[in-house]
């Protein structure tokens, strides 16, 4: 048998390892209302990106870093239209995600989604980019940009990283559109969101 599949497996494992380095667990609420999702380490000094719906309107949430250390995180900002939230934990020297070229990701290219579906920690799923932009099958019809992928997102994937073959961030796993289309918020939208929240915070 040719070596190509072994090489692809080794490369996949490497991309997944990079996603795992920045994957966190986010938990909000109390008791039976307690919700859990995923998040991505955005900066070495403790900025975390996740989905707005994972935060559930709380001001503080619990975050488990990749080291499994638990931190109290402050919610710095929310974008309801893109379902994003920016969190801050008091930590330093973290491994941060490297944003990829999500605006130019090619249809058909390979991607990996990481998260904690149904509470399974660090689970990874792989597929391809179905399409990018606002013109997609079964999309929410509001003109927003998405990366559509052939992944089956499940509860707990929300807020986790969607990475390319080099482990760079393509998007934030957000929701299913129809039974077979996963939608992620493109990384360039996330970058814009984080910049805006930090500007607003600095101005205040």
């Amino acid at each position: 048998m040719s070596e190509i599949l072994q090489r692809i497996n080794a490369d996949s494992a490497q991309a997944v390892a990079r996603a795992h380095q920045v994957l966190v667990r986010v938990s909000s609420g109390r008791g039976w209302r307690r919700g859990a999702g995923s998040g991505v380490v955005w900066s070495t000094d403790g900025l975390i990106v996740t989905n707005g719906h994972v935060v559930r309107g709380e001001d503080y949430v619990d975050v488990w870093l990749p080291t499994n250390a638990r931190h109290r995180a402050r919610v710095l900002g929310l974008a309801t239209n893109y379902d994003l939230a920016l969190l801050k934990v008091d930590a330093a020297g973290l491994v941060a995600i490297e944003p990829g070229d999500s605006a130019n990701i090619r249809t058909g290219s390979v991607v990996f989604g990481a998260g904690h579906p149904w509470g399974v920690l660090g689970a990874v799923t792989s597929g391809v980019v179905i399409g990018v932009g606002a013109d997609l099958p079964e999309r929410p019809d509001n003109g927003q940009e998405w990366v559509a992928v052939s992944l089956h997102y499940r509860p707990g994937h929300s807020g986790g990283p969607l990475v390319d073959v080099s482990g760079r961030l393509i998007g934030i796993n957000t929701m299913m559109a129809g039974p077979n289309v996963g939608l992620a918020v493109p990384a360039h939208i996330v970058t814009r969101f984080v910049e805006k929240v930090l500007e607003t915070a600095a101005a205040a």
């Binding site: 490369d11 249809t107 079964e138 052939s150 073959v165």
Partner: protein, 296 residues
Amino acid sequence: MALEELSNALADSVEHAAQSLVRVEARRRLPATGIVWSADGLIVTAHHVVTRDEDITVGLPNGERVSADLVGRDPHTDLAILRAHAEGLTAATWADLDAARIGHIVLAVGRPGTSPQATLGIISALGDSWRAPSGGSIERYLQTDVVMYPGFSGGPLIDVNGHALGMNTSSLVRGVSVALPGNTISRVADTLVQHGRMRQGYLGVGVQPVRLPEELQQELDQETGLLIMNVAKGSPAAHAELLMGDTIVTFDGMAVRQMDDLLSALSGDKIGTEVPVTIIRGGEIREAAVTIGDKE
């Protein structure tokens, strides 16, 4: 890096196929996909996504929208041919299906919107000729595990070179991703372009399968034949003096055991030719000759 090479190769395949990928607006709500068959505007798509015969629009790879006419359709193979009012298109390149193997990587591509969309899978099953539930005779069985997204019907199933292996359709077999192979498309498209419809040979009999008498089973080496229940007036069968109560056992040199055998023998290309028929009448084997008609 092998994975990056693979990922880029997949995107390259999509890009190549997208040059011949069009949007077909011929039904309400969601548009579907079509494949450029010839540079002068012939488009192949799925019959079931063309719900109207007029007011059809095709969205070209360069973003242009042009009107198109329905050339013909074959519900039995779920194929429709359109003529888009455009020239200088890039016709799809077709792969040799004989080189395809179970386990090979394939992509389904579609263009229900303006930009191409794609998804990945492998060839799950390959087989010989078969007859679809809708009655169409199809040259090869080609099944994949690709997920058919809304609007992907009528688009190509492509190999890793971006060459088309077949046309994806969600309605040939429900719940299974089966593609219509290139050689079936070629055969049906040729007939539709030439005649505007599929031609089917006509005999003019109503039949049902029956078990043959024991001694004839041995002599003919077949257990069943088709009992003629009625003969249409003025039909080819009437001219050949076939009678109600006769049992057809061979047709055009082929054993006739069930309905499918007779339907296969009455293909469109046999129209107008005289073929031998073996029947059983009153317990005796007889020969006749019938000139196959055209089922309008």
